[in-house]
């Protein structure tokens, strides 16, 4: 009996583990090794160069641009996305009651999630287009033509334009996530708060927010990882891509160009490994920060 159970468990786990090792762990391991070599992508052999590739990263001005931009995205994208997501979810469930048509709103908010990032990049490229784009045409139509800008071609605006797209494309998902978390809060807590005379804002701050903390924490980790990426949208939408002059360069794009454009797979792997550790650190910090006391609901 016991033996049969163990065999069943092994039979269920081993294939999945084997796939994981072959398709997830081994590529990771290989890139760790390649980051210490000068492999050019087509040679049958690679020469060991030690930490040389990592030493180069510090002097690569384009890579440093990328790190700076990813840092800005990391500071802005999760915070703004979660703020908007919480606000919209909170409005859909004010005081614990559902809003009429709340479901329909959720579905509409979720739409961007159904599009691939490449499609989103192409569509927003059209929206930002300087002469015929939706934004500038709209501004001109209402007599605000002086506010029309070359959104993706001005260094001071390009990164903001990219972050706006990232936020737009992910807010819907978090509205749905936070809505589910809010729905899981017992109704009587909201009723008690209302009886105690709490207004909408106080209820949100004192009841809703503490009880969806777990979800917010998860959202921070996911959005943090997304903010360290940004490759697809930048590659499709921006000038250069990654421009103008490095203004929207991200680590993923540097990595891609170094590997597939410059054929420096060893150096590109070093970028990948650096990004891996940055993401890992972020995840650890975010989870540690959230390890405080949890609210127990009866």
């Amino acid at each position: 009996m016991k033996y049969g159970r163990r065999r069943f468990l092994l039979g269920a786990l081993v294939p999945a583990l084997a796939l994981h090792v072959v398709f997830v762990l081994s590529p990771y391991a290989q890139s760790f090794y390649l980051s210490l070599t000068d492999w050019n992508g087509v040679a049958g052999d690679a020469h060991y160069v030690g930490a040389g590739n990592y030493a180069r990263l510090g002097g690569d001005s384009l890579f440093l641009d990328a790190v700076r931009n990813n840092a800005v995205m990391l500071a802005v994208v999760p915070l703004v996305t979660i703020a908007i997501g919480l606000f919209l979810a909170g409005m859909l469930h004010r005081g614990g009651r559902g809003l009429a048509g709340g479901r329909a709103y959720q579905i509409v908010y979720f739409f961007p999630q159904l599009l691939s990032l490449v499609v989103i990049g192409v569509l927003w490229g059209f929206v930002y287009s300087p002469n015929t784009g939706l934004i500038n045409s709209g501004l001109r139509a209402v007599g605000l033509g002086s506010f029309a800008r070359s959104w993706l071609a001005e260094p001071s605006l390009a990164l903001i334009a990219v972050m706006a797209v990232l936020i737009w494309s992910s807010v819907g998902f978090y509205v749905v996530l936070f809505s589910a978390a809010i729905e899981a809060i017992p109704r009587d807590l909201f009723e008690a708060a209302t009886l105690d005379g709490a207004g909408g804002w106080t209820t949100f701050r004192r009841v809703t927010l503490p009880l969806v903390r777990e979800s917010v924490q998860v959202a921070f980790v996911y959005l943090g990882i997304a903010a360290l990426d940004g490759f697809a949208v930048v590659q499709v939408m921006t000038v250069g891509p990654g421009g103008p002059d490095g203004a929207t360069e991200v680590i993923g794009l540097s990595l891609y160009r170094t590997a597939f454009g410059y054929a420096k797979f060893g150096y590109a792997s070093a970028m990948g490994v650096a990004l891996f550790f940055a993401t890992l650190t972020l995840a650890v910090l975010a989870l540690r920060a959230g390890r405080k006391e949890r609210v127990e609901l009866a």
């Binding site: 760790f32 070359s150 103008p244 949890r294």
Partner: protein, 471 residues
């Protein structure tokens, strides 16, 4: 309800760390995987060389051809294969027309079993300089010295347009043979100019004067494919090459100290900064993709656009009837060392015979057939594109754009030039593109433009990890 009991949708901190440690430990064990190809000797024993079989092709060796199936399709390649099959009926032919040649061929080069001919072209092609430094491609000298198929009195190398052999030469070895010929210049609609009474300026002063007239008439004088600033680099660097002559081009390509501070480059940068400064570039151009900018130009919102000779076929269906675009050389700056008619011209659609191919002689023979006059003429007719074979368009009726390109080559004679640093040193090309984008958006002045690029070139010259080439 207990929030603790919810399943965590994210990996636990410990599990993440554990995974990372496992990966790091496993690294040396799995390290052989990517580069395990090893070295393999080629079995290149060919047959005897005769007048009819100058490359010594073994008649029964199979031949595998991989072609980029892009804008030109791959009919031209299959036609040459049919002719190969007619000459060597015992050979088994394998044809592959691919869009992502690089992606498909990279593992085969690494594993040491590449095909016999590869058309290394299109987005994601393998970096040719890298293939050369990894010793993955054969020397084609034997093919270039073999008699041309249609004209046995001439060697194959003598039937090619100027610069074609040089374009495929790396470190003194001809390793790639390019099938199409591209010329860069400035394009405009001939009927539109005639109707407005404008004529194409031969000097930059006339260009600036004409731009003032064009702007007054409500049309933007210039536009460019702003999303990809390299399009504007072509006329800028062409102007510099005409001012400074071949010495300037060689100095730039050889990464000589101070090459980017040459007077020719300074004057050319100043010219394009002036174009931007006087507002002669259509506003918004800086953020337009090539399709958007070229469409705006076809709608006569702008008079001039810089581009290579592929523009006409790219705008098929976009350019209105009677638009009749033509290409002209970049105007002269004044006392140039090259005449106005000089053009930047280079070959592309790069065919290589991998050094580890099983039938390299067959691969070269295939290229001898592909580069014959008959094959090139059929290609020109089908694709409205100049092939790299001289005289391939003789006697054909050409469209206005292709006709102007052929006339430009004829007028240029031996005065064609090309910069090689774009293919040799891709990171330097990126630095130049970024700097030029900033220059024409008035965020960088010509002096800083030169300083910035010179810095990038100097860094590259010092970088011992990059294989250097000279010309």
């Amino acid at each position: 309800m207990n929030s603790e009991s919810q399943v965590r949708p994210y990996p636990h901190r410990r599990s993440v760390l554990k995974t990372a440690v496992t990966a790091a430990v496993a690294a040396p064990l799995l390290s052989g995987c990517v580069t395990a190809g090893g070295k393999k000797e080629t079995a290149s024993a060919g047959a005897a060389k005769t007048a009819d079989n100058p490359l010594g092709v073994k008649a029964d060796s199979p031949l595998e051809v991989v072609v980029f199936k892009g804008g030109y399709g791959d009919d031209y390649a299959t036609r040459a294969e049919a002719r190969y099959a007619a000459r060597y009926p015992k050979a088994k032919l394998d044809h592959k027309g691919l869009q992502k040649v690089g992606e498909a061929m990279q593992p085969r080069f690494v594993a040491g079993n590449p095909p016999d001919v590869v058309d290394n072209t299109g987005a994601g092609r393998l970096d040719i300089a890298t293939l050369v430094s990894a010793d993955q491609v054969s020397d084609l000298a034997e093919l270039l010295d073999a008699p041309a198929l249609d004209n046995p009195g001439q060697k194959l190398r003598e039937t090619l347009l100027p610069g074609v052999v040089d374009d495929g030469t790396f470190g003194g070895k001809a390793v790639a043979l390019n099938f199409t010929y591209t010329v860069w210049g400035i394009w405009y609609s001939k009927p539109f100019f005639e109707q407005r009474g404008w004529s194409y300026p031969q000097t930059w002063d006339d260009m600036v004067a004409l731009c003032a007239t064009i702007k007054k008439s409500g049309v933007a004088p210039w536009t460019y494919q702003g999303k990809y600033p390299e399009y504007l680099n072509d006329p800028l660097l062409s102007m510099a090459a005409k001012i400074g002559g071949p010495d300037l081009v060689t100095a730039v390509d050889n990464l000589e100290p101070g090459a980017w501070r040459a007077d020719g480059l300074a004057q050319a940068a100043a010219a394009f900064a002036e174009l931007a400064g006087k507002g002669y570039i259509m506003s918004g151009s800086e953020a337009l993709s090539h399709t958007e900018a070229q469409a705006a130009w076809c709608q006569k919102k702008a008079a001039f656009i810089p581009c290579g000779s592929w523009l006409e076929s790219e705008q098929k269906g976009v350019a209105p009837a009677g638009f009749d675009m033509v290409m002209s050389p970049v105007p002269s700056r004044g006392n140039d060392r090259l005449p106005f008619t000089a053009v930047e011209a280079a070959s592309s659609e790069s065919f290589v015979v991998p050094s580890k191919a099983k039938n390299p002689q067959g691969g070269m023979e295939y290229l001898r057939i592909l580069f014959s006059r008959a094959s090139a003429t059929a290609f020109a007719q089908a694709n409205n594109t100049l092939p790299a074979v001289a005289g391939a368009t003789d006697g054909l009726t050409l469209s206005s754009g292709l006709g102007s390109v052929r006339d430009a080559i004829t007028a240029a004679g031996r005065d064609t030039f090309v910069y090689r640093f774009r293919t040799w040193y891709a990171p330097l090309a990126k630095a130049v593109d970024d700097a030029t984008g900033e220059l024409v958006n008035k965020r960088l002045n010509p002096a800083d433009w030169a300083t910035r690029i010179q810095k990038a070139a100097d860094a590259l010259a010092k970088d011992s990890s990059v294989t250097k080439y000279t010309r």
